[in-house]
Structures are given as structure tokens and as C-alpha cells.
């Protein structure tokens, strides 16, 4: 019983940051914007969350700081890609490079310091149920409300949405900021719950895995949740190996999530029905209103 609970807990804690970040990115991509800077926003969320909690002693302030750090990075991305119409791929990459550098610099004095752990509510970390509430809300808003219809319209054909009178740029700003908040929160989960400490580059590619999850889920919120938990399940493998005492190099086990991501991308992308059906048609296309 205890073993199964530990296994379950390992999956959930590994899956939650992926679910949070990928759900945010799903909304961003549904509005037609490809933000490759998830990793950068996430790592900034992690350092801001740790720093605020460590300096104030209040982990809830840490959560708020993580969200705002992610949004600040997202705003920078939005300003460049939406207002200055820069290349989204390149800008997202630079967001990641900047986030990794800046977090390393800002977090330098936090290395080795004991972190403040986010308290549990009723025996579970509150961010875990929150990640499911978030998925449910996103699924509801995107597919059952007018706001969701507008977001998807903007993502599928920005020119038509513009012609209908919707403020394409502002809708996209909103979605990008929401994505940043989610990525920042995911980073905060890492440094306040997963391993309550600050380690440079502690996101370790999770932002990129979250991006892959959105493709894997073919832009559907509940499939993101399924995908995140499948990836979380990979992390129990090292747990199994430890308990069985198998001699498999840890480096091999550590590379499994990345190999798994490649495999998942290959399997999903090979099916045109899955990818073409839901992919937002204007994804990654710059938009400048005609004047």
C-alpha cells in the first residue's frame, strides 16, 4: 500500500509542473502564437518563487512572485512578437536563453540555501488539484464560452477575426500573459514543492517537454493532462530500478523523459489526422492589421 502510494505521489509530482506549463502554452498556441520561451519563463518563475519565499519566509508570496515573473517574461515576448512583429521562433528562443542566464545571475546567492516549502492542505499540495481545476477551466472556456470561440477564431484565422472586429493583438496579449503565468507557476512548483531549493537550470528542459506535450495532446486540454501523467510515469522507472536494485546507469534513466518526448512527437506527428485537425491554422504567423 505504502509503495503504491509512493509511486502515485512520484507520478503526480513529476506531472504537475508539466501539466501547468503545457496548459498555459496550449492557450497561447490556440490564439495562434508559438511561444518557445516556456523554459525561460518557467526558470524565472522558479528563481522568483524561491527568492520571494526565502527572503520573506512566506511561501505564498513565493507562488505569487513566480506567477508575476512568468508574466513579466511573457510580456517581453508579447511586446516583441505582437507589437514589433518579430519572428516568434527566434524570440521564444531568446526568451529561453535570457531566462536561463538571468535566473542564474539572480539566483546566485540562493544556491545551497534551505528553501521554504509550500504547506500542504489536507495532506496534498494545493497546486496539484489546482492544476486539474486549471485544465477543466481552460477546457470549458476554450470550447464552451464566447471568449474561447474568439481565442480560437483569432488562432485559426487572424484576418477573419480582425475583419469581424476582434482585437487580435489584445486577445493574443491576454493569452500570452496567461501562458506566462502558468509557466511561472510551474517553475514555482519546482522550487517550492518539487525540490524546495534553488539549483541553476533546475527546470532541466521541462519547459521544452511541456511544448512537446501540447503537440502530443493535439491542442486538446484533457489530452495534455493525460500526456503529462504519462510523462510523470516515466519518472517512476528510476524508482522501480532503485527498489529492485537493478544496475542500470542513472544517466540512461535520466535521459528517458527526453527520449520519450522524441518518441511521443514522432508517433503523434506521423498521424496527419491528429496534428492537422486541431493545430491552429495561424500558429506562428505574424499579424499586422491592414491600414
Amino acid at each position: 500500500m505504502d509503495v503504491w502510494f509512493a509511486v502515485f505521489l512520484t507520478i503526480v509530482t513529476a506531472a504537475t509542473p508539466l501539466l501547468l506549463a503545457a496548459t498555459g502554452e496550449l492557450v497561447v498556441e490556440r490564439s495562434g502564437v508559438l511561444n518557445l520561451g516556456v523554459e525561460g519563463m518557467m526558470v524565472m518563475g522558479a528563481v522568483a518563487g524561491f527568492g520571494a519565499a526565502f527572503l520573506s519566509g512566506n511561501p505564498y508570496l513565493g507562488v505569487i512572485a513566480a506567477i508575476f515573473a512568468g508574466m513579466a517574461m511573457a510580456l517581453l515576448f508579447g511586446f516583441l512578437t505582437l507589437s514589433l512583429v518579430t519572428n516568434q521562433v527566434a524570440t521564444g528562443l531568446s526568451l529561453t536563453l535570457l531566462g536561463l542566464g538571468l535566473s542564474g545571475l539572480l539566483g546566485e546567492s540562493f544556491v545551497g540555501e534551505p528553501g521554504v516549502r509550500l504547506p500542504k492542505w489536507l495532506g496534498i499540495d494545493m497546486l496539484i488539484p489546482l492544476s486539474f481545476i486549471l485544465t477543466a477551466v481552460v477546457a470549458f472556456v476554450l470550447f464552451r464560452t464566447k471568449a474561447g470561440l474568439i481565442i480560437r477564431a483569432v488562432g485559426d484565422s487572424h484576418s477573419s477575426a480582425h475583419a469581424l472586429g476582434y482585437r487580435v493583438i489584445w486577445v493574443r496579449y491576454g493569452c500570452v500573459l496567461f501562458g506566462g503565468a502558468c509557466a511561472g507557476l510551474a517553475g514555482g512548483y519546482l522550487s517550492l514543492v518539487y525540490t524546495p531549493q534553488w539549483v541553476e537550470n533546475m527546470t532541466a528542459g521541462r519547459g521544452w517537454i511541456a511544448l512537446a506535450l501540447v503537440v502530443f495532446a493535439s491542442w486538446l486540454p484533457w489530452r495534455v493532462a493525460i500526456g503529462a501523467y504519462l510523462f510523470g510515469a516515466i519518472s517512476i522507472l528510476s524508482f522501480v530500478v532503485q527498489t529492485r536494485g537493478w544496475s542500470i546507469p542513472p544517466q540512461f534513466l535520466n535521459s528517458l523523459p527526453y527520449l520519450g518526448t522524441i518518441l511521443a512527437l514522432v508517433v503523434i506527428s506521423a498521424s496527419r489526422r491528429l496534428t492537422r485537425g486541431n493545430a491552429p491554422a495561424s500558429l506562428g504567423q505574424p499579424f499586422v492589421p491592414d491600414r
Binding site: 475583419a163 544517466q251 492589421p289
Partner: protein, 361 residues
């Protein structure tokens, strides 16, 4: 009054030249602000970071040494990005090149002949090409996003290197340190002058050859058409899959060459950490160089300066050398922002004109 973007009738040539310089200027200004925030006199900080490394012979040599891998990788990436092929896993191709090239010496530790180095370099290039071919083939065959697959492979190969140097390839006489045997004699690249090694020649040659290929040969034209006008490329019979494979093999091979030249000179052995992120910084080199191989040559020196400045800032200003990564990230942002001015210009729109352009509610 509102500031709006307006598409220029054609690309502004003046801005295409000015924008990288403007981006560097803005980065330097931002640097001054960062120094001031850290309580350092801004001009003194800028002098230590950007000027002093250029005033001494040994640091100029270091500039070339650090620019060597950046240029080798950056020119390849410039070709990729021109074709709209997004290889961002050069760090992985660099590492796999170093592994495959270094394998020669792990297998034949006593082999000392002029051929040793040739074989190492060839295997390094081959390693980079193999590792670059994986995301290319996954893209062509399964339509898997090359950005994500090439990046994931970086993590995988770093674990592979870590396992090799801690396990099967560890130096038996190395006091249990995670490293292979040290390369020596003819296994190392010849020195040209001071600490500058033969790799610098490779870098300049790569830039010159690719500048010729991109500017004067059909292949370069094909790459540009596939990148800028995919429809026109189809009518012209230029195959996108073939271009994807070409770009990945080229940039992967160059990154692999950079990897093996780095371990056969500066590093001198295989160890868990063989690069301070050259493969990622080279992305900035490609963009700062306007995706032009000769531009990347100049940009490589600029980013090498950012590494040197970081070291100088650590020694003389008591800052962390991580500040180099921050400067590099900020620089790329400014480059992208300034590039907007090539295709667009800003115009003030008066309120009445603005009202006319608002979409009907």
C-alpha cells in the same frame, strides 16, 4: 496620437546594416544600467567588460580561441535559419562530434601520427552529421517538429558523455576523476600563434566557403528560396526535405568539427563539461550576423568578447561570470527588435486617422 507600425514598400538596406550595430549599442547601454544597479560605476564597468579584453595580446588570442567554435557552429546555423530549418540542438551535435572524434583516442591511446588528428577530425564531423541527421530524418519521415527533437537530443547526448567519462572511457590512471586520458602530442591541434590553434583557420574557411555557396551557387539560392518562398520553391522543383537534410548535415557537421577541435585543443580530454554553451550562443551569432556567413564571422568575435568580458567582470568587478549569459540573451532580444525596422517603420497616427482604421464593432 498613436504609434503604429507600417510595412515598408521594400526592405530597408540601410536598416539591415544599422540594426546589428544599434542592437549592440542598446546592449551596451543596458549593460551600463546593470552595472549601475550593482553599484559599479557604469563607465568603469563597460571599460572592464567590453574594452579591456581588447587591449592585451593574450586576451585577443583568447578572443579568437573562443570565437572559433562560435563561428564554426554559427555559420552552419545561419544557413539552416535561412532555409527556415530550425536546428537548435547544435550543442548536442557539438558534443556528439567530440565523443566520436575522441573515441579514436580512447580506442588507440598510443596512436601518434599525423593521421591521428585527421581521423579525429573526420570522426568529429561524422559524429555531428549523424547526430544532426536524426532530427532531420524524423522531420522528413514523420513530420516531427525539429526544434523540439533537436533540443531533446542535447540532453540525451550530455547524459551519454557523462556516462562514458565516468564509466567505460574513464582514465584508469586518472585518480577516479570523471575524464578520459589526456590528449597529447600529435593528438592535439597544431598551434598557430600563442594560444590560437588550427581551428581558427577552419572557422574562417567555413565562413568563406559558405559565403560563396550562399551567394554564388545554385545550392545557396535553393536554400534561400525554400526558406523565403516555399511555394515558389515547389514550382522550381526545389525539394524541401532535401534542403532540410542538407541543412542539418551541414550545420551538424560543422558543430561536430567545432566539438572535436575544442576537445583536441582547449579542453585536451573528454570530461562531463566540454562547452560553456557554445551551441546555444551560436544561435545568437547566426542572428547577429544577419544569417550571413561573413556576418557570423564578425558576430562570433562579438560574442566571444561577451564571454571574455564576463570573465573580466568576475575578476575585476566581483560580478558573476553568469552576467555573460544575460548580456547574450539581451543582445538577441535587441537584434530581433531592431530587425523590425528593416521591414517596417514607425508612424504617428492622428486620432481622426486612427478612428478610420479601427475595425467596425
Amino acid at each position: 496620437m498613436q504609434l503604429v507600425l507600417e510595412k515598408r514598400p521594400e526592405r530597408s538596406r540601410r536598416m539591415a546594416l544599422l540594426s546589428p550595430l544599434l542592437a549592440i549599442l542598446l546592449t551596451v547601454i543596458t549593460g551600463a544600467v546593470i552595472f549601475a544597479l550593482r553599484g559599479i560605476e557604469p563607465l568603469h564597468g563597460l571599460n572592464v567588460y567590453f574594452i579591456e579584453p581588447l587591449t592585451q595580446i593574450w586576451s585577443l588570442e583568447q578572443l579568437v580561441v573562443k570565437a572559433t567554435p562560435l563561428v564554426l557552429i554559427g555559420v552552419g546555423l545561419a544557413v539552416c535559419y535561412t532555409a527556415n530549418v530550425w536546428n537548435i540542438g547544435a550543442e548536442g551535435q557539438f558534443t556528439f562530434g567530440a565523443i566520436l572524434g575522441g573515441m579514436i583516442l580512447v580506442l588507440f591511446p598510443a596512436w601518434q601520427s599525423p593521421l591521428t588528428l585527421v581521423m579525429m577530425l573526420l570522426f568529429g564531423i561524422l559524429g555531428g552529421m549523424i547526430y544532426g541527421a536524426i532530427p532531420a530524418l524524423l522531420k522528413i519521415r514523420f513530420n516531427a517538429n525539429e526544434i523540439l527533437t533537436s533540443l531533446m537530443l542535447v540532453y540525451v547526448v550530455q547524459f551519454l558523455l557523462d556516462w562514458l567519462v565516468r564509466g567505460p572511457w574513464r582514465d584508469p590512471q586518472g585518480f577516479n576523476f570523471p575524464k578520459t586520458i589526456t590528449f597529447e602530442g600529435l593528438q592535439l591541434l597544431p598551434m598557430l600563434s600563442g594560444s590560437i590553434h588550427l581551428g581558427a583557420v577552419f572557422a574562417v574557411l567555413a565562413a568563406l566557403v559558405l559565403a560563396f555557396v550562399m551567394g554564388r551557387m545554385l545550392k545557396g539560392f535553393e536554400v534561400r528560396v525554400v526558406g523565403n518562398a516555399p511555394r515558389a520553391a515547389r514550382f522550381a522543383g526545389f525539394s524541401r526535405p532535401r534542403t532540410i537534410l542538407f541543412c542539418f548535415l551541414l550545420s551538424g557537421g560543422l558543430a561536430g568539427l567545432a566539438g572535436i577541435t575544442e576537445v583536441a585543443s582547449v579542453v585536451g580530454q573528454l570530461q562531463p563539461q566540454i562547452s560553456p554553451g557554445y551551441g546555444f550562443t551560436a544561435i545568437i551569432v547566426a542572428f547577429l550576423g544577419r544569417l550571413n556567413p561573413l556576418g557570423a564571422l564578425a558576430a562570433g568575435l562579438m560574442l566571444a568578447l561577451s564571454y571574455l568580458g564576463g570573465e573580466a567582470a568576475q575578476v575585476s568587478l566581483g560580478l558573476s561570470d553568469r552576467i555573460a549569459k544575460v548580456f547574450q540573451g539581451i543582445l538577441l532580444f535587441y537584434i530581433l527588435a531592431c530587425d523590425t525596422l528593416i521591414l517596417y517603420r514607425f508612424r504617428w497616427l492622428k486620432p481622426q486617422a486612427l478612428a478610420a482604421t479601427q475595425p467596425a464593432e
